[in-house]
Amino acid sequence: MAFDLALSLGALGLAAAVLWFFLGKRTPLPVAAQSAELPARELSEPPIDAFDPAAGADTEQARLSVSGMTCASCVFAIDRTLRAVPGVSDANVNLAAEQASVSFDPRQVTPAEMISAIQGVGYDARIAGGLQESQEADEHARRRDLRLLMLKFGVGAPLAILLFVGSSGDLFRWDPGFLSNHYLQFGLAVPVQFWVGWQFLASAWKSARHRMADMNTLIAAGTLAAFSFSTVATFAQGALPETVSGKVYFDTAAIIVTLILLGRLLEARAKSKTSDAIRKLVGLQPRTARVIRDGQETEVPISEVRVSEQLLVKPSEKVPVDGVILSGATSIDESMVTGESVPADKGPGDRVIGATVNTVGAFTMEATRIGEDGLLGQIAHMVRDAQGSRASIQRLVDVVAGYFVPAVMLVAFATFAAWTLASADPELNRSIAAAVAVLIIACPCALGLATPTSIMVGTGKGAEFGVLIRNAETLETAHRVDTIVFDKTGTLTHGQPSLAEIRPASGFIDDQVLALAASAESLSEHPVARAITFAALEKGLTLSEPSEFEMKPGQGIRATVDRKAVAIGNRALMTNLGVSVDSLLNHFEALAKAGNTPMFVAIDRSPAAVIAVADSLKEDAAQSVSDIKRMGINTVMITGDNRYAAQAIAGQVGIDEVIAEVMPQDKVSRVAELQSEGKVVAMVGDGINDAPALAQANVGIAIGAGTDIAIEAADVTLMGERLSGVVTAIKLSAATMRNIKQNLFFAFVYNTAGIPIAAGVLFPFFGLLLNPGIAALAMAASSLSVLTNALRLRGFKP
């Protein structure tokens, strides 16, 4: 007896150690530390045709939250009030949802006016927060669940410990004798069984109705068996056969419930906060816009901007909403949406995206899409939909339980039958007691710890290698990935242009042209300018400061260097300056086809060279891709870029399949397509436009140097720029899964070994039946083995 009591004590100590290990202070992972700032560059026009300026821009939809409605007449009153507002064509009020959806002509009325109309009849209303609001609700629910789990654990753990002390008899010197009172134990066990453990009972019932057996079934069956048996033993001792009477398993039930709840708590804490990506997206929007109303420029809150209103955007301001440029020329930094660091040149008729950053020029624009209809709103929608719709992979624990539970039920039944049939004098209650004992011992209390412990250690190990895993399930999924989709710009490439080639016209020397071009560009902050200047400095060329410098948005630059007129830019610039570039067109096109961004250089009005910059591959890109291919995983590249540029990069890096010219919001559907073909897809990306695809993929992997939004939408973040982490993540997942499987083995093996004892196999020989000591022994041994094994994962090397 002293032996298994000592082990039981060990189990308790272990439980305390586990608690400390997981619930102690954790240092936050340094993800956000090195985010953003490394936008990319672009070779072609960023694909922002994503959204059509509304086909039916005359009517807009608005959703309003209305509070204070109590009955149908309120609905009627508000409905009528809204319809009476000029410009409102339709209104639909829902009492239960406390919402009104309104169709209106944005040129005649704003949501603010509708709100004041509703307030005028005595109700309160505001614009339904849509995304943000429902996200907050989700987050709120998540926090509430977590708090409830913590509370339940906080109540369950002390009760379980008291029960344990009580049933361990004289082991503890300070054990107040009254704790071993069965009636008291019953009182302590009831809240644990039916309040702390309620979710297991409820889920088990749900599964049972679908004729399914999972982990919850096992927990419910085992703990209920232990609890009911003990209750009978407490209140109706006479009903039990002598061999098992006087034994209660209240502590077994309570410890199982509490430990498994601890597992759930650990998982809930590790669950990713899905809402952050969307909150950050919404936060990107500027708060105000300059609206031109009646020829007057007024600054208004962004929510009051209506479709087809004229807006003014000044240099270095954010574009307030999606729209079309009416007048003015500028370049706009769209890197936050497209990942391309080279600002896109824009003129009248070109589309602009809300929340992107205007650089040099001022322009007027017409608003085409506002609020949730804008590209940003759409992306937020897609991220949320993708996060909600992603196929979940059945947890390994449930797979195992799916076999184990029916098997145990069968054994329990067989036990019952055997005791009834084989016994010389069959006694019904003895048969039942034996069958119940099987259920009691079969429920492994380490089961709840098997997965979380491995995952915790695996996650910590990942962090050590610069792979930050935010989502526990990722580790269970990543090793099954058979297709990896890479974003191109900023993921496979640096996302920054560097000088690729100079092709001088006859009569010009490349270094001479480069020195002049670099000098001319030396005053510019433009990524292309930096690439040229940097290349010249690297070659050791001497630069001189231009005496005159002018930026031509959408065309290029013009400068005077050493009394020479230098112009660098596109064909439009050359045409404006009266320079004929026909002789260089061949070079220009050849370089463009090879995936470069070529520009013309003119010196003193004569065509001097074509200078090309290109995004270069990351140093470890090719190596990582070939490692991945060696693991038997398909590689795919997806990009908004043109086919030439895409194929050029894919060829260099060794990727077989290229999906090019993809609109930002189509990336997600391509990933979903692959998934529908039965593939388990990992997506690697860095931009906001990758966020929905990252959320959709079975495993989303964000480049740490990418945008916050991509990081928030992903399951895994790779520190810094390097791609080798993709391989590490997959290998780590495989190692973790192996570890989980071993843990499950340990969780089950001791209890399974106890089943024959409980069934009474040893009874004829030794008179041995299940007793609380054996149950405690199994609990202690399995917990200890599981923890030790999980810690072994610390030796992982990629």
């Binding site: 204070g68 109590t70 009955c71 149908a72 007449s73 009153a77 009492l95 009849v121 005595g122 109700y123």
Partner: protein, 67 residues
């Protein structure tokens, strides 16, 4: 609702002449006087409808607006 309120006397309730909900006059969000009688409403919407044609609504046996 606090437990104490269970022990309090039930307030005299008035019927909202529009939707026929029972309303506590001391807490009613809207009320209207017609021919010397004060009518209480569950919400401003009912008051609005009532005042458009009070006589008809008082006479009506059925709620003016069905759910």
């Amino acid at each position: 609702m606090s437990i104490l309120s269970l022990f309090k006397k039930k307030p005299e309730l008035a019927r909202d002449p529009i939707c026929h909900m029972m309303v506590d006059p001391s807490k009613a969000r809207a009320s209207s006087e017609f021919e010397g009688v004060t009518y209480y409403f569950c919400a401003p919407g009912c008051k609005m409808l009532f005042e458009e044609d009070p006589a008809r609504h008082i006479a009506s046996e059925k709620p003016a607006v069905e759910m």
